[in-house]
């Protein structure tokens, strides 16, 4: 194989969004992916393309998210056409329920703070009656006081998104090496060299490490210290049912297939992808307080995924000063940000520097003392 312009480490949603964006911009890109037992948030997530409430502590993140949501419809069209895979993407707006009058007041306050004193554009507060009117086939539980509605919110089938990104990237002439867990990453005279299984090597002038929770471990030997941690989320999914939820809600969404996803927990348990009855019970109880009619629905599967979290929850895009052409890209909301990763972030990486809002997303914002 001729030496590619870029190697992307990680064929998850984040890695392949970038690879797809770079390949579309005329670059030659090779993606390498790890082993069967790796942590894969791309296969475990909830599938929300979500804006409302994001970035309370990081305004640049709120703008970045909103821009990505705005890019999504065009991104979808291009990707579906290129890959031949439908994404089940919809943008009907999204709801966050409040289970008491006080919670509804608090929710408004949080959103107004993000909006700088007023509700952000596209966001409205719905009282119980207005909410029920929007969910005619889903009788609300007695505790539901109302919800916030965000017009920019939407959802997608995250598994189809991943498959389409991979397929689209391949259609554009990209290459993916499966089962190629990176052992070492080192610098060469004109770029970087990766060692894979059986001592095989790959070289490229540019390397993007987008390996989720494995990212810090890959760049640590170079003295780059990334503050990322895992956070477990457990989810339930029901059997297929007739349509009842016309839009995604936080912690509850009906997929295009008819299944209802119920989530999710926030657990600090390290690198453990197990599931527990206690967490299943907890999310089931909350879902029934919102929609008691779900009581009889059969659960088909409970699973968990590990979120990739930075200390403030925002993205972490870094090109360490000592290593031009080496990038690390990690974030929690890789589905929401897929569109902007394939467009703006790919452009900036090509240009060699973060500009505008993304400057706020480098690891330098955490002032982590490095060992080197």
């Amino acid at each position: 194989m001729a030496q590619p312009d870029h190697i992307v480490i990680g064929a998850g949603t984040v890695g392949v969004s970038l690879a797809y964006g770079l390949q579309k911009r005329g670059q030659s890109v090779c993606v390498v992916d790890g082993g069967a037992s790796d942590f894969r948030a791309a296969r475990a997530n909830f599938g929300l393309v979500w804006v409302q409430g994001k970035g309370g502590n990081l305004p640049a993140y709120a703008r970045w998210t909103a821009e990505s949501a705005a890019l999504w419809p065009r991104f979808r069209d291009a990707l579906e056409q290129c890959s031949g895979i439908g994404l089940d993407y919809q943008k009907p707006g999204g709801l966050v329920f409040s289970l008491s009058e006080q919670a509804l007041i608090d929710r408004r306050a949080v959103l107004e703070e993000i909006g700088g004193g007023a509700l952000p554009e596209g966001v409205e507060m719905l009282d119980r009656d207005a909410l029920q009117a929007r969910l005619p086939d889903a009788p609300l539980g007695p505790e539901v006081a109302g919800a916030s509605y965000g017009a920019s919110d939407g959802h997608v089938n995250p598994l189809k998104l991943l498959a389409a990104l991979q397929q689209g990237f391949l259609e554009l002439g990209g290459e993916i090496l499966w089962d190629w867990p990176v052992q070492t990453l080192r610098t060469t005279d004109d770029g970087y060299e990766l060692t894979g299984p059986d001592g095989e090597t790959l070289r490229a002038p540019n390397v993007i490490v987008a390996a989720g929770l494995a990212t810090p471990g890959i760049v640590a030997p170079l003295g780059v210290d990334l503050p990322l941690r895992p956070q477990r989320g457990q989810l339930l999914v029901t059997e297929r049912m007739a349509p009842m939820l016309p839009m995604p809600c936080s912690g509850l969404r009906q997929t295009a297939d008819g299944t209802v996803m119920i989530g999710t927990t926030h657990e600090d348990v390290g690198l453990d992808t197990g599931t527990t009855q206690a967490s299943g019970t907890m999310v089931a109880e909350r879902a029934l307080r919102i929609l008691p009619a779900l009581s009889g629905a059969r659960i088909v599967r409970q699973w968990s995924g590990l979120r990739v979290l930075s200390p403030d929850g925002g993205p972490l895009y870094t090109q360490p000063e000592a290593y031009p052409g080496l990038w690390t890209v990690s974030c929690h909301s890789g589905v929401t940000l897929a569109a902007i990763h394939a467009e703006r972030l790919a452009e900036q990486i090509l240009a060699g520097a973060l500009t505008g809002d993304t400057r706020h997303f480098s690891k330098d914002r955490f002032h982590v003392p490095t060992l080197a």
């Binding site: 296969r43 029901t238 659960i299 088909v300």
Partner: protein, 469 residues
């Protein structure tokens, strides 16, 4: 209360283990989803073995033996809970001073938690799913399913009834039907024609259990004498019809044939039930002889997770007599691990159990060789995943598109994501992945199994929170 042992499954293995553990005065709870003890082979044994029952006579001596085991089981003092479905098993946290398992159960719409120091999975086997065109049509069932109809409701199939497959079960069922006055239009044997040559090397070992061999030969002779139509070397079976089975079509080396059909009963051997051990991340190995996974067990029947044991066909397909022996052995292992049996006594008991098991397994290598899992190419239009209605062509396309990881194929296609959790499609998907990547089947593995192991509703799951609050 915390039981010494929770046993899941009240078939031969589970009942035997319960009796043996109770004989050592350990507390035992037995959970089983059936309404009565017996497991698959002894389904309805209490119902059918009433004095003077014609059906019990016709079902044979091996079946009637179950009545005695069920009687001992009922009397052994184990807390027996029928109609109880286990949907999840968890080990309590490492901070607990003594090991304890939580077994989550649905019984008559109520969720419950059972706690025990050891768990024995005696959950048996299922019939190996082998997809062919039309196998989802109403009218097509497994031979095991028809035998269950017979044992639990006294029901015989009607319409032109065809049996297609290989192994002892179709022969036995055909033999039982004939004795009960049922009609069979024909028997389509899918075993390779060179069985005699293939079986010879295993014959002398199998002769240690000559009674079973003689029985098998007698069934065949009986069917021949009754003039049953029998086709051998059958391949390319198809079930055809609009909305339901109307006709079948098959090929033999002599050519293609077709016949009207009302009921088609299929069977291609059994595979151990491994969903619970897979979900608990026990180690498994691939058996080439039986073309299926089984949990790795030590000499005492313990899995790679301490305190979790497996017995019976769930540990490998060996039949009911072996299941009894494995139940005994697991009970010895559990008693030993609970320190109520000295090492010396345990070893002694094990030696006796091992001998019984070895005899009960004598014919197994011969049977595995005579009735290998079918390997014919599955054509692209055949439905592989019954739940999500996915065809072999769709799975092949996904398998070839990326890594040979069954979890990737599952997430891209949804095969294995329906209610059956891949019990029907898992092995076929793995086989198609092996084919696409030209690798040995043993290396492909199986997709991750997640709870619930049995269906549980959102309300049932939520109710466990209220119980605690």
């Amino acid at each position: 209360m915390i039981f010494d042992t929770a046993i899941i499954g009240a078939g031969p293995a589970g009942m035997q283990a319960a009796c043996d553990l109770r004989a050592r005065e350990l507390s035992v709870i037995v959970l089983d989803e059936q309404p009565a003890p017996g497991g698959q082979i002894w389904r309805g044994v209490e119902r059918n073995c009433q004095p003077g029952s014609e059906l019990a006579q016709r079902l044979g001596a091996e079946y009637r033996q179950g009545a005695g085991v069920a009687r001992s089981f009922r009397a052994c003092g184990a807390d027996y809970r029928p109609l109880s479905r286990v949907w999840q098993i968890e080990e309590t946290g490492p901070d607990a001073t003594e090991q304890c398992w939580q077994v989550f159960v649905i019984r008559e719409g109520q969720a419950e938690v059972v706690e025990a120091r050891r768990v024995l999975l005696a959950i048996g086997a299922q019939e190996r799913p082998v997809p062919f065109p039309g196998w989802t049509h109403p009218g097509v069932m497994t031979v095991g399913a028809a035998q269950i109809m017979l044992k639990s409701g006294g029901l015989l199939p009607e319409g032109p009834v065809w049996i297609c497959g290989a192994g002892p079960l179709p022969l036995l069922y055909a033999h039982q039907l004939r004795k009960l006055g049922g009609q069979i239009a024909g028997f389509l044997d899918t075993a390779p024609r060179d069985t005699v040559r293939r079986g010879l090397p295993h014959l002398s070992g199998a002769l240690r259990d000559w009674k079973s061999l003689a029985k098998g030969l007698a069934w065949q002779a009986g069917l021949r004498a009754a003039g049953l139509r029998r086709e051998t070397g059958v391949r390319q079976l198809r079930a055809e019809g609009k909305d339901r089975l109307e006709r079948i079509r098959w090929e033999t080396p002599e050519g293609e044939k077709t016949a009207p059909a009302g009921v088609l009963l299929i069977h291609e051997g059994l595979v151990p039930s491994v969903h619970p051990t897979l979900s608990l991340q026990c180690e498994h190995t691939w058996s080439d002889a039986q073309q299926s996974l089984r949990p790795v067990l030590d000499a005492w029947g313990e899995t790679t997770r301490r305190g979790l044991f497996v017995a019976g066909d769930a540990a490998g397909i060996d039949g009911a007599r072996a299941a009894l022996a494995k139940g005994t052995l697991a009970a010895v292992g559990i008693a030993r691990s609970l320190d109520v049996l000295s090492e010396a006594k345990a070893k002694q008991a094990r030696a006796a159990g091992d001998r019984a098991l070895s005899k009960a397994r004598a014919t197994r290598p011969l049977l595995d060789t005579l009735y290998p899992a079918p390997e014919g190419k599955i054509s692209d239009d055949v439905i592989v995943c019954r739940c999500e209605e996915l065809t072999a062509g769709q799975i092949r396309a996904a398998a070839g598109r990326g890594s040979a990881d069954p979890n990737r194929v599952k997430s891209e296609t949804r095969a294995g994501m329906g209610p059956c959790q891949g019990r029907q499609c898992g092995y076929t998907v793995a086989r198609l992945i092996a084919e696409a990547h030209d690798m040995p089947r043993a290396e492909v593995g199986f997709h991750n199994i997640r709870p619930p192991l049995k269906p549980v509703s959102v309300g049932e799951l939520a109710s466990l929170g209220k119980a605690k609050a």
